[in-house]
Symmetry: C2
Subunit: 175 residues, 2 copies
DNA sequence: CCGGATTAGTTTAGGCTTCAAAGATTGGTC
DNA sequence: GACCAATCTTTGAAGCCTAAACTAATCCGG
């Protein structure tokens, strides 16, 4: 034995683990870890439910969501920027969805380099089902907050996002 | 030049794209997308800097961070729970870090199933360098918020996290 | 002591993701 | 028309990640 003679470290996540950290740690770090934990927790649950209920994945869902809002189609590059992922990533994702008959490629009129990606009829139906469930899940997971808290959180995250973008902007930047 | 003749659809991310969505979309969804964008943005920058400055990755860094706070070592299972990733994931991650001489395995006294994972001396030195830079990056990226905003955001994220955990708890749950 | 349930860790198959390099096309300049 | 730079996409190598199946060790009730 000799197991837990003193401490039982059931620290659940990295942010909680830092709670009793020695002083000197910046509170920015705690904020970041809490943000990360929060997102990871929700994202993991969404992924699990997408798999369980629709046998699909979050990246697939995200790609279809982007296309659903662009009935006329989007090029791979546009999708890649919207999803904030690499080009090559979208290539593979689109290939898999195409092989399942959920999206289709069309030649881009006037530019033979690019291709338009669009949902098929089946893809639209399928996404409608998934999307409705997804919206409910989000509402459920965030239901612990009252409307005022949600509004406040939304506002602060907007400020944070703007701050991050500003910190990332290549120095002298106006637009 | 013929650049922007009509619309320049520079919709930067999914959340922004939803800003002018038809009504009926729940505000929870917008909140979730903003949370996700915020995290993704920061995480992507951290990943890029870890690669650029230390030729390492976020998962490696996270594993080393967990070990750094447990000088006596952690089992693979403990690491896996702390990082909220699967067992098999930690197996591979630990193998890579071990092959680079940054972590080492020790037999767990009294339980031949388990192994203790610890930073090597080199791993500790390396992590100290990375950690210092990392803390600075976070402070830089979140510097756009003043202390009051950070505190408020921290509090609201705590509420959100608790709400998500509650929604995920297996029904009749007391502890 | 035996046998079943549990726990720790590994393995496998498949998908996601990035970076870097290469192929194809376009637009502008001379 | 010929080049050259920029843009769109694909490919390949490597790593990350999960679920599920598996092995090994421990625990525990009889």
């Amino acid at each position: 034995m000799t197991p837990p003679d003193d401490i039982v470290p059931i620290t659940v996540d990295a942010e909680t683990a830092l709670a009793h950290a020695p002083p000197g740690h910046k509170d920015e770090l705690r904020l970041w870890l809490r943000l990360l934990t929060c997102t990871t927790l929700m994202e993991g649950e969404i992924r699990a439910r997408l798999r369980r209920d629709f046998d699909t994945t979050l990246p697939r869902f995200d790609l279809m969501a982007a296309l659903d809002r662009a009935p006329q189609g989007m090029t791979l590059g546009e999708v890649s920027r919207r999803m904030m992922v690499s080009n090559g990533n979208v290539t593979g994702l689109a290939a898999r969805l195409e092989s399942e008959g959920l999206v289709e490629r069309r030649a881009m009129p006037g530019d033979r380099r690019a291709q338009l990606l669009r949902l098929t009829a089946r893809g639209r139906r399928e996404f409608a089902r998934q999307s409705a469930a997804h919206e409910g899940w989000i509402a459920e997971l965030l239901g612990g907050l009252d409307p005022a808290e949600r509004a406040q959180l939304f506002r602060l995250l907007g400020r944070a996002k703007a701050g991050v973008r500003a910190a990332l902007a290549p120095e002298g930047e106006t637009a």
